[in-house]
């Protein structure tokens, strides 16, 4: 049981970075950024390839920067060339497939054997015991959340929030929405890239298909978190929801894995259903309320 908890906590922390990325793009900027899947693999590919060459720390840095570059491509397509935002993400994502293969030396996967990773470095420090993986990803997640909380209250952060909140206002203020959207998408994808980089070194492998569904899982976690700790009330809560939601999601995941209530192959379908229901919830609730009122008033 402890092992399950440890795994769930570790995975929850590391994937909270993707939820943070989606929080920034989907919630703050109100853009469905579909670069996420490819960007995750890009971070993973860069990080694992660099670790394979003996540079684990550089690998993480490259994952962050690489993710940011991917975000910039999407932002460029969207703000400078007028490609609709969803399509811009899909186009970048498609292109990234080839780039990812290239980053892994034209093979579909790369594995680390005895090479040093930032996780083995933490283990060799010897102060975290069996929790060294958790220590690393928790530190990353905590730093990510603190950074996000700080950033969203700076002038630039406020401008980005206003861009997603009221575009009319932004164009009448001296904010250039092209710039704020670009910064937001770059930053979001830095987080996604970092997550991919950490997951790659943790699993000691990178795989070209590792990113499938990441964006939906991230959204599911975000929504679970927002529901549980009634987020959307303040920025701090919202950011915390990314972590809480992810840990809950990973516990559910671990539970299913362990108990086999559902065949594990069903998990993606279940995730998709959760996301669809969660996003549809307000509409469904409103429809039901109207129907109930209609029935009540026609019964009189």
């Amino acid at each position: 049981m402890l092992h399950i908890a440890q795994t769930a906590l570790t995975l929850g922390c590391v994937y909270s970075l993707v939820a943070l990325a989606l929080f920034l793009s989907y919630r703050v900027l109100d853009i469905a950024d579909l670069t996420t899947d490819g960007c995750f693999v890009f971070g993973m590919a860069l990080s694992v390839s660099a670790a394979a060459a003996g540079h684990p720390l550089l690998g993480i840095l490259m994952a962050v920067i690489g993710g940011g570059c991917a975000g910039y491509v999407t932002a460029f397509l969207q703000t400078r060339l007028g490609v609709p935002s969803i399509l811009a993400g899909i186009v970048t994502n498609t292109g990234l497939y080839t780039v990812n293969l290239m980053a892994m030396g034209w093979s579909a996967n790369v594995s680390l054997l005895k090479q040093t990773t930032i996780f083995t470095m933490a283990r060799d420090m010897g102060i975290f015991g069996g929790w060294y993986q958790f220590a690393v990803v928790f530190a990353a997640s905590a730093l990510g959340m603190l950074f996000m909380r700080w950033f969203l209250r700076t002038r630039l952060g406020l401008s980005i929030r206003a861009t997603g909140d009221n575009l009319d206002m932004v164009s009448a203020s001296s904010i250039n929405p092209k710039f704020t959207i670009a910064v937001g998408l770059i930053l979001a994808n830095c987080f996604t890239g970092l997550c991919g980089g950490l997951v790659g070194q943790m699993q000691k492998s990178a795989d070209i298909n590792a990113g499938t569904g990441i964006v939906v899982i991230g959204l599911a976690s975000l929504i679970i978190g927002e529901t549980v700790i009634s987020g959307r009330k303040s920025i701090g809560r919202n950011i915390l929801a990314c972590l809480v939601g992810n840990i809950i999601y990973r516990f559910i995941y671990a539970l299913i894995l362990q108990t086999r209530i559902l065949p594990i192959e069903c998990l993606k379908l279940m995730t998709a259903v959760i996301v669809a229901l969660a996003i549809a919830a307000p509409t469904i609730r409103a429809n039901l309320a109207t129907k109930a009122r209609e029935r009540k008033e026609s019964a009189l």
């Binding site: 700076t154 002038r155 406020l158 929030r161 206002m169 164009s171 203020s173 001296s174």
Partner: protein, 267 residues
């Protein structure tokens, strides 16, 4: 202060919906002027504001502000020194951000600091509180409230404060009280006059209220068909009665009709 030279804008050129929104307009606004603008729907009032604010590029002509040609400057650059309020009170504020954050956004962007990472300081906080108190709406005690929960009048008051927290060179008011209830409208108008007077801000205000147009400010323009047909100031404006203004307003609108008839008969 503001100089508009031979400004023209045509929408949907070459189509059946072609509309000359502004044609060959010239206007000189002096420093400290508070000009009210009248005109029927489609006279080109809002188009003029959009051109000044840089929402679109004019087809012809120049816009000069304080000696600087801003004709080709993008809108987000101009809004550093041109403040603008719209009729819709929801347009000027971000609903999911708090009162303080909205103010901070307006203050930090218009301020001289170019640091993207500057944050709200204690001093700013106190200053915001002080400014909010001047609105007499109790907003100073609700600085952490999301703006989306405020009433239209409160939001418009906040927008006014945001537009003037760093006094702009030019303030554009596009029927900014028209969507509010009479009490709120009066309050916003009073605040507007106070703030404009305190900062000696040059101001253009579109209104459909003839009484307000004559009572407020020091100069009144009437627009029709993309042109200024009447420019009232000084004594002439002082002595003008409402009835006379209304008559001239009707005349202005009629002239257009006559013009159209002449055009049609020519074909």
């Amino acid at each position: 202060m503001l100089e508009i030279q031979n400004l023209s804008k045509v929408f949907n050129p070459g189509t059946i919906n072609e509309k000359k929104a502004i044609s060959h307009m010239n206007l000189v606004v002096n420093d400290g002027d508070f000009i009210t603008i009248l005109g029927s729907n489609g006279a080109g009032k809002s188009t003029l504001f959009n051109a000044i604010a840089g929402v679109f590029l004019a087809d012809e002509g120049k816009i000069i502000l304080d000696g600087e040609n801003i004709t080709f400057q993008p809108d987000h650059r101009r809004s550093k020194y041109i403040g603008r309020l719209f009729q819709d009170p929801l347009k000027g504020t971000a609903p999911h951000m708090t009162i303080e954050e909205n103010l901070a956004l307006a203050f930090l962007r218009a301020g001289h600091s170019t640091d993207s990472f500057s944050r709200i300081s204690k001093k700013d906080h106190e200053m915001f509180k002080e400014k909010l108190r001047l609105l007499e709406m109790g907003l100073e005690d609700r600085m952490n409230t999301q703006v989306g929960t405020l009433s239209g009048g409160q939001r418009q008051a906040l927008t006014l404060l945001m537009a003037t927290i760093v006094p702009p060179k030019l303030l554009l008011l596009d029927e900014h009280t028209a969507a509010l209830d009479p009490a709120a409208a009066e309050k916003i108008m009073k605040l507007t006059e106070e703030i404009v007077a305190a900062n000696h801000t040059t101001c253009l205000m579109i209104t459909h209220n003839l009484h307000q147009a004559l009572k407020t400010g020091n100069r009144t323009l009437m627009m029709a068909d993309g042109r200024i047909i009447l420019d009232l100031k000084g004594e002439e404006r002082e002595s003008l009665t409402m009835e006379e203004l209304l008559r001239r307003f009707r005349e202005g609108a009629k002239e257009e009709l006559d013009d159209d008839r002449i055009l049609l008969s020519d074909h």
